[in-house]
Structures are given as structure tokens and as C-alpha cells.
């Protein structure tokens, strides 16, 4: 058994032992507050067992292992339905960025340890009503204020802001220069005076995302994590940090074998639906697509293992998988006909077709919309021209609104 395989076995065994306390079944019927509390205990247990911050430096309480162990653990963890998503963004991007760009090392260390143990949660305050795909179009501003800064404006779509203790934020510090050049990157205390968090209810009925308002929020200059005007580069670094996160060829929806089971159980025209050509075609095509992604991902892992850089094809994961999930979920509801109406907004997106379906659109938008992903592939991988950008080179305050 390779080192990685024994690591996988060790992780799988530990996760298995945690499942009764923290897994899918233990969470059934819990309120969100109780689920979050359970999640914090689970995160602490992970930390104690040496499975938190797997690929982070040991000086910050991490394990000092590689991406490979991290991805391996994540893939095993995904199987049990643990309440770990509250920490997904926090530990995924803001906290690693803090480790990289935070200036006060003692402060950073304290924050990282608390985040790793589930005591504190961080959010990522990038998107705004006027700056989503066009991240550099944001308008929230920070103005010099004594020795520090004063923030005013509004962020939106901030995941878990309502539970967050801190956030990383990109704001405009100079409207007189082209849009990418006038941004600066800070961290903020989400409990500071002037910060208001207002949950947004999403289509599926849940409220993971928020509007966040900043009214004269004062921060000192030691909150700054980039040069003044150099925030865009750190924002891009944030988005690149977890490039090789655990992926799921099912698009974080149900696996195909659940669909095969459904098609075997359900009768269509007096015969099992699995015998219907339309259903068979969709099963086969989805399988071919997902197996391709699986193979891309296995190959990427093997490449990393031998010290090579994986190819750009990893960028296909979300684009391809979530579209496949969306359509397959529609078909699964079709198959159930009048039984397909049944909806439980707390059901798992990985096991319930209606829940998978209603939440699929967020997967095609959050973390880069399909269109921006296609642009990235076209421009960065294939070398096709950049889109026409009429705002290029123009001072931000002269761009027509």
C-alpha cells in the first residue's frame, strides 16, 4: 500500500468512527443553530485527531502535509454528510490568505488556531451588487481616517456572514485610477460597530448568504493585507488558493447509481424505466461525462504525486458536473411524475433529487458562472482574444454607470 493509500485508510477509519455522532443521521431534524454547534464540535474533533489544516504549516497548527492528503481526506469526508460546510469558505480561502498576507504573526496564529478548531468563522466579502463576475467593479470604499480607514458600502452574497467573526474584504481606496488599480484588501471584525448582516433567502428556502452593510466602519491600518491599491492581486490569489480542492463529478448532487436505482424501481409504460431508451441514453451519457471527470481528477492527483503540475482540464470540473447534475435532477423528477412534487427543504442535495434540482442553479453561478468559466478556458487555455472591455484603462469614476 502506498503512503497515500494508508493515509486514506486511516482517514476513512476515523471518519467512519465519527459518523454516528456527527454524520448524516445524527443531523436529521436539527435546527440550524444546533447543527452549527454540532459542526463546531466536529471541527474540534477533526483538529484533535490531526485532520484539520492538513496541508497547512505546522507553525500555525496545521499538519504540514500536501494537497494530496487534503484532497484524499476531503473525498472520504464527503461520503458521510458531516456538518462541515459552515467552515468551507472560512478554511478554504480567507484563513489561508490571512496566513499568507497577515502582518501580525501572533494575531494570525491565534486566529488560525481558533478557526481550525471551529471556534471562529471567516467570510469572504468580495461580491457586491455592482461587482460579481466583474469583481473589480465593486464600489464599497475605504477612506483614510486618522491612522486607519473608514469603510462605507454594501457587500452581497456573503456566505455564512451571519455566523462569521471576521471577514476578508476588497474595497475601493482610489476612484481616480482604472478599476483594478484602486482596490485594497483588508480584514474586518464582523462584530465591529457599523457592520450589519442581513440574510438573503435563496430559492431552495435556506439562507446561507447575506447582504452586509458597512456604515462608517473604522479599522486600523494593521488590518490591511495588501499595498494600498494592490488589493486586486491578493483577491486573485485568494481565488487561486484552493485550486485543487476536492471535486465531485456528481456536481455535489446525487451520484448516478441513485438514478439507476430510481430507474429500476419506477415503472414507465408498464415496464421498469431502466428499459426505456430515453432513460438509458441519459444514464449512459451522464456516466461517460462523469467518468471522464473522475479520470481527469485521478490523473491530476497522480501528477501532483510525482511532482508534476496537473493540466488545465481540471477547470472543467464545476462547469461540466453541475450542468449534468441540473439536467439529471430534472429528469429524476420527471420520472417520478406526480410523486415528484414532494419537497423537503432540509433534504440533502446529495441524496434528494428535488433538493439537488432547486439548488443546482447556485452551483452554476457561485464561484464563477458558467460563462466566466468558459471565458477563462477560452482566454487562458486556448489563447482566444479577451472580451471587449470598454472600461479598460479608464479611471473608475469616469466609467458610465
Amino acid at each position: 500500500m502506498s503512503d497515500l493509500e494508508s493515509y486514506r485508510a486511516k482517514a476513512a477509519a476515523w471518519l467512519q468512527s465519527m459518523a454516528p455522532t456527527f454524520g448524516r443521521n445524527a443531523r436529521k431534524g436539527l435546527s440550524e443553530a444546533d447543527d452549527l454547534a454540532l459542526g463546531r464540535r466536529y471541527q474540534k474533533a477533526k483538529f484533535d485527531a490531526g485532520f484539520a489544516g492538513i496541508n497547512w504549516p505546522t507553525e500555525y497548527g496545521g499538519q504540514g502535509l500536501s494537497h494530496l492528503e487534503k484532497v484524499t481526506f476531503d473525498a472520504e469526508e464527503m461520503k458521510h454528510g458531516f456538518p462541515s460546510f459552515y467552515f468551507g469558505i472560512s478554511l478554504g480561502m480567507p484563513v489561508p490568505v490571512l496566513m499568507q498576507f497577515g502582518s501580525d504573526k501572533d494575531f494570525v496564529k491565534e486566529r488560525v488556531l481558533k478557526a481550525l478548531q471551529g471556534e471562529e468563522i471567516w467570510c469572504q466579502l468580495f461580491s457586491e451588487p455592482s461587482g460579481g463576475s466583474d469583481l473589480a467593479g465593486l464600489r464599497t470604499k475605504a477612506e483614510p481616517d486618522g491612522n486607519g480607514w473608514k469603510i462605507n458600502g454594501q457587500k452581497v452574497w456573503t456566505s455564512w456572514a451571519h455566523y462569521s467573526d471576521y471577514g476578508v474584504i476588497v474595497v475601493r481606496t482610489d476612484p481616480n485610477v482604472p478599476k483594478h488599480k484602486g482596490l485594497t484588501y483588508f480584514w474586518v471584525d464582523m462584530k465591529a460597530p457599523g457592520v450589519t448582516v442581513r440574510p438573503i433567502k435563496l430559492a431552495g428556502g435556506e439562507s446561507h448568504v447575506n447582504e452586509v452593510f458597512f456604515d462608517d466602519v473604522k479599522i486600523s491600518d494593521d488590518h490591511r493585507m495588501s499595498p494600498v491599491g494592490g488589493g486586486f492581486a491578493v483577491a486573485i490569489a485568494t481565488l487561486m488558493i484552493e485550486r485543487y480542492v476536492a471535486t465531485d463529478s456528481a456536481g455535489f448532487g446525487p451520484h448516478l447509481d441513485l438514478f439507476v436505482e430510481l430507474a429500476k424501481e419506477i415503472q414507465l409504460n408498464g415496464r421498469p424505466a431502466i428499459e426505456d431508451g430515453r432513460i438509458r441514453q441519459q444514464i449512459a451519457r451522464n456516466y461517460a461525462m462523469r467518468s471522464g471527470l473522475d479520470s481527469i481528477n485521478v490523473r491530476a492527483r497522480l501528477m501532483m504525486q510525482t511532482g508534476m503540475m496537473p493540466g488545465a482540464e481540471g477547470s472543467l470540473n464545476k462547469l461540466v458536473a453541475v450542468r449534468s447534475r441540473q439536467k439529471l435532477s430534472e429528469l429524476a423528477i420527471d420520472l417520478q411524475g406526480s410523486d415528484g412534487f414532494l419537497f423537503d427543504e432540509h433534504a440533502s442535495q446529495k441524496e434528494d433529487w428535488a433538493s439537488s434540482w432547486i439548488n443546482a442553479p447556485t452551483g452554476r453561478i457561485a464561484g464563477g458562472s458558467d460563462e466566466t468559466l468558459l471565458n477563462t478556458i477560452a482566454e487562458k487555455v486556448l489563447g482566444l482574444p479577451q472580451d471587449h472591455r470598454p472600461d479598460k484603462g479608464i479611471p473608475f469614476n469616469q466609467i458610465p454607470a
Binding site: 429500476k264 444514464i283 456516466y287 490523473r299 497522480l302 462547469l319 486556448l382
Partner: protein
């Protein structure tokens, strides 16, 4: 087996690409379309000279003892340059049938010639829409074949064929020499495939497998050929994606390269997705040879490669506008090949069924 190519394999890919780019071009291929029954001899001579014909056959039988991954890499390059002869796949399939299911005498008799490329093999399983018919048209009685095998790729030039036939109360996988059989060329949209109807009237044949074993054997051979073909299709799709990209960078309209229009650039980015999924499935399938899920992996490779090549052919022509549909520019060579490869080793409908049977646990 790992799914990372090693240095030797990468060298095979680079070298075969270099050789084929030097020796095959569309101007040599276009005239073949207008004649029935001719193939591009320089391609096959190259294949023989480079040892590709025996690449994936055992050393004991005159081959090089490499595997499906290596042959796949050659097929990928052949797909990029549009191979001018159908034998790489069919001779390999025929040779594997003999290697896996033949007697020592049969191996001794046929494999060295197939490995050197002097003997050409064909595989005749299909009966119209059925790639592996429950009841084949050709009958096998007392070691003799009767009936017509329809639409056999490479059939016009092959020396031997592996036939899936209807024996007394069971199916038979049979080996037959084609000298003396009635062969008629099928005029096709892709004439260099040498497609033939082969008529047998009492042709003497030898059994390779019979009964349930015959169907399993035939499916296995078909799956092997499907993996080779999928590589070829992926190569074709890949080069079309590159051609489309290059054209989109140079052709201008409304004051900018057409590749700056999102409807064009996204279309090419989507091709990238299809090509990479197909490639990933091909590499995986080649690595699964001999494993229990080989047929599943082959089906997935075949489905994604067919989709990639057909879509790339459609979209690449579309992106070229009017020039894309001219005889001269030759994009129709790919369009034709995409379709002929799509049906040669069992259509998507066939492989969808095979795949779902495997997934639903209903495999024979």
C-alpha cells in the same frame, strides 16, 4: 496500470505525430473520396515500417509486446491526420481475436503476418443496426459460412475476417479466409474505409469461440476496437478544436477577430471540454484492459469520443463560415470520418445499451 503516460509513451506520441504530419495531407486524401476501393498506401506503409501494426501484439507472435495505451496513442495521431486506411483498428481486432481465442496453430499461421502488416484483418460482427446481433445474418454449419456480412470496414482489402455467426443452436465466433468470397464495395461518404458487403457461400471457416463464450468474446473484441477508435476520434476532435481556434484568431469580422465573439469563443471552449473528457476516458479505458470493468470503461470512452468528434466537426465548420463547406479546405474529411467512425464499432445507441446493462448489473 497507471493513467500517466511515461516517457516512452510520450515519445511514441511525438514521433508518430511527426511522421504522420510529414506523410499524410488532405490533398492525398481528397481524391480517395471520389473512388471506391482505394486507400492511402503511404499511410499503411508508414504503419508497417514504424511497427505500429504489431505494436500491441505479443512478442512471441512477432509483435512488440506493448499495449492498448501505446496503440491508442498512435490511433490518436492517426485521427489527427485522418488515417487513410481502416486497418489499424480492424487488423488489431482480428489479431486479438486469434491471440485470445485461437489455437496455437491458428496463431502461428496468422499472427506474424498481422503483426507485420502483410496480412490485413477485418471484423464482421454487425448486421445493420445491431453491432452484435442476437441472431447474426451469417450462418455457420459444419465449419462453413453462408450469407452476407454487411458494411464491413476494411472488408474490401482484408485477407481474413473474424465473423460473428449463427451456428446450430448457438452463436459462433469464426475465422475465415476471404480469398474466393464474393465482395462488393459499398459506396460510402467515406470511401477510404474500404467498406464491403462480403458474401459467403460455403466458405470454410474455423471456430474461435462458441455459445455464450462467443458473445463474450465478440463483445471483448468490439470493446478493444472501440478503445482504439475512441482514441482516433479524440485525435480528430482535438485537431478540429485547434483548427477552429487558429481560424478564430485570424479571421476578422466587424473589426475584430471572430474569436472575440463569445458565441464563437465559448463554442471552442466547449470543444475543449468535450476533447478533454474523451481523452480522459480513453486513457482510463486503455488502462483497464484486463480488468472486470473494461467494457464499461470502453463504452464510456466510445460515447464521449463520438460526441467530441461529431460536435467538433459540426462546430469547426460552422466557425469557418462559407469557406468551411468547400471541397478544397477539406474539413468535410473530418466530418465524414467522424460519422464513419461513429458507426464502425457499434453506434452510440449500441454502447449506451452496453453501458447501462453494466451499470444496472444486467450484463450478460
Amino acid at each position: 496500470m497507471t493513467i500517466l503516460y511515461d516517457e516512452g509513451q510520450q515519445a511514441i506520441a511525438t514521433e508518430s505525430r511527426r511522421v504522420l504530419e510529414a506523410r499524410v495531407d488532405k490533398d492525398a486524401l481528397l481524391p480517395l473520396l471520389e473512388r471506391v476501393g482505394e486507400y492511402h498506401r503511404p499511410f499503411w506503409d508508414t504503419a508497417k515500417e514504424q511497427g505500429w501494426t504489431g505494436l500491441a501484439l505479443p512478442e512471441a507472435n512477432g509483435g512488440l509486446g506493448l499495449g492498448l495505451a501505446e496503440l491508442g496513442l498512435i490511433a490518436h495521431q492517426a485521427g489527427r491526420s485522418i488515417s487513410g486506411a481502416p486497418f489499424l483498428t480492424s487488423s488489431f481486432g482480428a489479431a486479438k481475436a486469434i491471440e485470445l481465442f485461437g489455437s496455437d496453430a491458428q496463431k502461428l499461421r496468422w499472427l506474424p503476418g498481422l503483426a507485420s502488416g502483410e496480412i490485413i484483418g477485418a471484423v464482421a460482427f454487425a448486421a445493420g443496426p445491431d453491432a452484435l446481433p442476437p441472431c447474426p445474418d451469417v450462418t455457420f454449419t459444419d465449419d462453413r459460412l453462408d450469407g452476407i456480412a454487411r458494411g464491413v470496414s476494411a472488408g474490401l482489402a482484408a485477407n481474413i475476417a473474424i465473423v460473428y455467426a449463427n451456428g446450430p443452436g448457438m452463436r459462433v465466433l469464426a475465422l475465415v479466409e476471404l480469398a474466393g468470397t464474393q465482395r462488393s464495395a459499398v459506396p460510402s461518404f467515406d470511401n477510404s474505409r474500404l467498406i464491403a458487403d462480403i458474401g459467403f457461400s460455403g466458405a470454410s471457416a474455423e471456430t474461435l469461440a462458441a455459445g455464450d463464450a462467443a458473445r463474450d468474446a465478440a463483445l471483448h473484441i468490439l470493446a478493444l476496437q472501440a478503445v482504439v477508435t475512441a482514441h482516433e476520434q479524440t485525435g480528430g476532435a482535438e485537431v478540429l478544436m485547434e483548427i477552429a481556434r487558429d481560424y478564430a484568431l485570424t479571421r476578422k469580422a466587424f473589426g475584430q477577430p471572430i474569436g472575440a465573439f463569445q458565441s464563437v469563443k465559448h463554442r471552442i471552449a466547449e470543444l475543449y471540454g468535450l476533447v478533454e473528457l474523451a481523452r480522459a476516458n480513453c486513457i482510463h479505458a486503455a488502462a483497464r484492459e484486463g480488468a472486470a470493468d473494461f467494457v464499461t470503461a470502453a463504452a464510456a470512452a466510445r460515447l464521449s469520443a463520438t460526441e467530441a468528434y461529431d460536435t467538433a466537426a459540426r462546430d469547426c465548420i460552422q466557425i469557418h463560415g462559407g469557406i468551411g463547406v468547400t471541397w478544397e479546405i477539406g474539413l468535410h474529411l473530418h466530418m465524414r470520418r467522424a460519422r464513419s467512425l461513429a458507426i464502425e464499432q457499434g453506434s452510440s445507441l449500441f454502447w449506451e445499451d452496453v453501458l447501462v446493462d453494466q451499470l444496472a448489473g444486467e450484463a450478460a
